[in-house]
């Protein structure tokens, strides 16, 4: 909340402001009667497993998605360690293939796709809309159970042998030429897909119908816009991949021949159906990231977003165009040249809305009052890495260059820049930004900043060399590789080690903060969104009363904030000064008392001191 510096200003708990001044809010002495919030309203496993509260479901997702992240991360670690030497010294080829397949399947379908929508979206969309819950709480809980069923199936299949197909399941390799529980994995992904569909459905209906009075479309936070675009992709794209995966299962079980060239089927048909979903899925992964960044950048620049409408509409443009570019994954198949060219030009066009967003975020910093808190560090990292990730996409849209780069490490580096360098950075930004609201306590700012910087360094070191290895021709999914690429892979593995550390840190300090973190208060960042207008953690129904909205989402003023800060600094200096003087006076008095005599001299000193005060 922005308050005027005019009157009655009391030094309320301050947000972390600058790196040197990471003040934590004062610890509020624990009340004996803590107000009821969604966390303490009831206890016990049952109260969580059957909860209909979107906030609790979001926390369930947080737990399970984090577990899946660990699984995917371990698989990635195996892959990277094995590539430390060109000769595949660590694990066998089959194990390596299973490891990268597990990494891809788990990270794509069970981490990145649900991460921001199902955790942050679930928690904050109703709050940002001023609603008490999502439109369909039971469906929301159902979607979590579907996610769990899918995850258990996939993890079980991975434990009982694993699959060697990559996350793309290309036929006929997956349908005829490998063994392993591919059907189980496919069905697990199928079921998890429905979890994603139901979440998207819930968001769409909630955004349309449950906005608070006065909350018009152009007063929506950009987070909601981004999630809305994501949800559209989820409900329109995911069913297609679901049926594709089902067909793959039918192909394997019944030997149907739909993707089998020897019976006249078409292996490329699988690729078309798969990418018809999976390219929009890439935007299911990045749009939520963009949505988070729009919130964080404004808050820590203390400025309204620059070009609100352009950012909102660019999300929708991305959502629409993303359905028309899937063919750029098939430039090296015998797809007709004309369709390749059409897909190429649309792929170039889809870069434009992303560029608009990057420029607008950067422009938001202009004339702001910038605080490099942890979420802000992650966000600025996001903008830089996403710029690189987006621009390297141009290489892959240009057919001539893509033919050389297709299926090399350049592609690997590109999509990791977009998915990890951007989406995961944004996820971390959002998690830290909203952590005080979600659990009511602050995370340790210094550790957070350390982890953010480490992640940026580790990420760049991991994936920048892969661009070079890729253009030099190193194909992806290679268990052993030409020694020519050794140096780049060593650098990459070194970077991955730093990244692992950067991911481990938050696990520890966020867990620590659950119990020992200082209490956050309702609005530690003095942010203006509706979600900050209610206690932290929020009560079960989010708001005491349904809020009425009268203005846009980003009512920040850098100028006001600066004055307020100066005033706060001044008051704090005054208070410090007074305290110091009191101490001096006390000391003098004390000394005088010790000298034992109520001598005139000491009397005078005491009186002088009192006068000074």
């Amino acid at each position: 909340m922005v308050s005027t510096p005019a009157e009655g200003f009391t030094p309320t708990p301050r947000p972390a402001a600058a790196p040197g001044d990471v003040s934590v809010p004062e610890v509020v002495p624990a009340d004996s009667e803590e107000p009821k919030n969604y966390l303490n309203v009831s206890y016990g496993v049952k109260s969580w497993l059957f909860t209909l509260d979107h906030k609790r479901i979001a926390m369930l997702y947080l737990l399970t998605v984090s577990l899946m992240f660990v699984v995917g991360g371990v698989a990635a670690g195996m892959v990277r360690l094995n590539l430390l030497q060109p000769n595949g010294f660590l694990i066998s080829a089959a194990t390596y293939n299973k490891a990268f397949s597990a990494h891809g399947i788990v990270m794509v379908f069970f981490f990145i796709i649900p991460a921001i929508p199902a955790i942050l979206g679930n928690f904050f969309i109703p709050m940002m809309l001023g609603a008490k819950d999502l439109a369909f709480p039971k469906i929301n809980l159902l979607s979590w159970y579907l996610y769990i069923i899918g995850a258990v199936m996939v993890l079980g299949a991975l434990a009982c042998g694993g699959v060697q197909t990559g996350w793309t399941f290309y036929a006929p390799l997956s349908s005829q030429y490998t063994n392993g529980p591919i059907v189980v994995v496919a069905l697990g992904v199928f079921i998890a897909g429905f979890s994603s569909i139901l979440t998207g459905l819930n968001f769409i209906v909630t955004t349309h119908k449950m906005r608070a009075p006065g909350l018009t479309w152009f007063r929506l936070p950009l987070f909601v816009w981004g999630m809305y675009a994501t949800s559209l992709l989820q409900i329109l794209g995911t069913p297609v991949v679901a049926i594709t995966i089902l067909l793959l299962a039918v192909e394997i079980i019944f030997n149907a021949g739909v993707f089998d060239a020897s019976t006249g089927g078409d292996p490329v048909l699988f690729q078309h159906l798969f990418w018809f979903y999976s390219h929009p899925a890439v935007y299911i992964m990045i749009l939520p990231g963009m949505a988070v960044i729009s919130e964080v950048v404004t808050c820590f620049s203390r400025k309204p977003i620059f070009g609100y409408r352009f950012i909102a509409f660019s999300s929708m443009a991305i959502a629409i165009l993303s359905f028309l570019v899937w063919g750029h994954h098939m430039f090296t198949t015998d797809q007709s040249p004309l369709s390749s060219i059409v897909f190429s030009v649309i792929s170039f066009l889809v870069a434009i809305p992303s560029a608009i967003k990057v420029f607008n975020w950067t422009a938001t910093l202009y004339k702001g009052s910038i605080r490099l808190t942890t979420p802000m560090l992650y966000s600025l990292g996001f903008i830089g890495l996403f710029t690189i990730g987006g621009l390297t996409g141009l290489y892959l849209s240009a057919i001539a260059v893509d033919i050389h780069l297709q299926d090399t490490y350049f592609v690997v580096a590109h999509f990791h820049y977009v998915m990890v360098g951007s989406t995961v950075m944004a996820y971390m930004a959002g998690l830290h930004y909203w952590w005080p609201k979600m659990v009511g306590r602050m995370y340790p700012e210094g550790w957070g900043q350390t982890a953010a910087v480490l992640l940026f360094i580790g990420f760049t070191l991991t994936f920048m060399p892969q661009f070079i290895a890729g253009y030099a021709g190193m194909p992806r999914r290679y268990h052993v590789y030409d020694p020519q690429y050794h140096v780049m892979n060593v650098l990459s593995t070194a970077g991955a080690t730093i990244m692992a550390l950067a991911y481990l840190l938050p696990f520890f300090y966020l867990t620590w903060s659950l119990k020992y973190g200082p209490k956050a208060g309702p609005n530690p960042w003095r942010a203006t969104g509706l979600e900050w207008q209610t206690p932290s953690p929020p009560p079960t129904l989010n708001f005491e009363r349904t809020p009425v909205v009268t203005i846009g989402p980003y009512a920040y003023s850098a100028e006001n904030d600066e004055i307020e800060d100066a005033r706060y600094d001044m008051e704090r200096a005054q208070a410090d000064y007074a305290a110091a003087q009191a101490k001096v006076a006390g000391d003098r008095e004390h000394r005088a008392m010790e000298e034992g005599g109520a001598s005139a001299v000491s009397q005078t000193i005491i009186e002088e001191a009192k006068r000074d005060l």
Binding site: M1, L201, P239, V240, A242, G257, S262, R545, V548
Partner: protein, 293 residues
């Protein structure tokens, strides 16, 4: 520090971004409290939300079926003859009957929605029973059809069941017709075709068809009708529950929306069949007794 920014984004003058409505919203003590869920503010919002949710769900359903329709279209374009041959093995009579049964069920469903709206419990229950009967009849006919398909060797082999399955062109309707039409040579020749080979299948007008491609047709046939039947079964199950609820007067107290929503779903499933029927059964054109002309 006075801001000259546009009002929309203006720096909030204190009173902040929000103020509060004067009246607390929850604790609904109106008489519709058993219908209004806790997280909605008022009935209209709830009604519209649920309705929009249903429509969104139907969109995802359309997208899901569209994947199968796309595969169907691609292979129909590639292997027209196989599709033709495959479709002629199906029982058009039963398919036609089923189409009308399903259309009738849609009509009773629409009437049920109306009955719920006018709060006529008896009519509602009657029409629901009608819909149930028609839906059940559809599934029954489908079961009969699939059983016949099984006995006539049209169900592609389950790989895990071993080489013996129920995929046998020698039993197909076309083969059977050749036999009854006293064309013993052709019938014998047809009967000798190996079930899983890619050898050609000589058909009327000397078209040659790979058995494998016919198998692909049947694969898609069973996928599409199977997925449709799963939707039907789910529909019938929900309808049964709703019938019991209707008996208790659930939907004739002004809360007719569940019936309306279910009607939407039912009509959607019906429409899918309206597309499936001509695409799968009538490739060769319409003839009550099967076979091309």
């Amino acid at each position: 520090m006075t801001s000259k920014a546009p009002v929309k984004h203006s720096v909030a003058p204190p009173p902040a971004t929000t103020h509060y409505q004067g009246e607390a919203e929850h604790g609904h003590d109106h008489d519709d409290s058993h219908v209004l869920m806790h997280h909605f503010d008022h009935m209209e919002q709830q009604r519209e939300s649920i309705s929009l949710g249903m429509w969104t769900f139907l969109w995802t359903e359309i997208m899901m079926f569209s994947g199968l329709f796309f595969c169907y279209a691609l292979f129909r374009w590639k292997f027209y003859d196989a599709y033709l041959l495959g479709s002629q093995q199906l029982d058009i009579t039963l398919g036609t009957i089923n189409t009308f049964v399903l259309l009738a069920s849609s009509m009773t469903m629409a009437l049920a929605v109306h009955a719920a709206q006018v709060k006529n419990r008896k009519a509602l229950m009657g029409y629901m029973v009608g819909t149930l009967i028609f839906g059940g009849a559809f599934l029954g006919v489908k079961a009969v059809e699939w059983t016949a398909d099984y006995h006539e060797g049209m169900v592609p082999t389950f790989e895990f069941m071993g080489p013996r399955g129920n995929w046998n062109p020698a039993l197909w309707r076309t083969t059977h017709h050749a036999r009854t039409d006293r064309k013993p040579e052709e019938a014998t020749r047809l009967a000798q075709i190996k079930p899983d080979s890619t050898v050609t299948y000589d058909f009327k007008h000397k078209k040659e068809v790979s058995v494998q491609q016919v198998k692909m047709y049947f694969m898609l046939y069973f996928c599409m009708t199977g997925l449709h039947a799963i939707h039907m079964i789910a529909g019938v199950a929900i309808l049964l529950v709703m019938l019991l609820m209707a008996a208790g007067g659930w939907f004739t107290n002004g809360n007719d929306q569940p019936v309306e929503l279910f009607g939407l779903y039912w009509h959607f499933v019906d429409i899918v069949w309206v597309f499936l029927f001509p695409l799968l059964y009538l490739i060769a054109g319409f003839s009550m007794f099967g076979g091309a002309h």
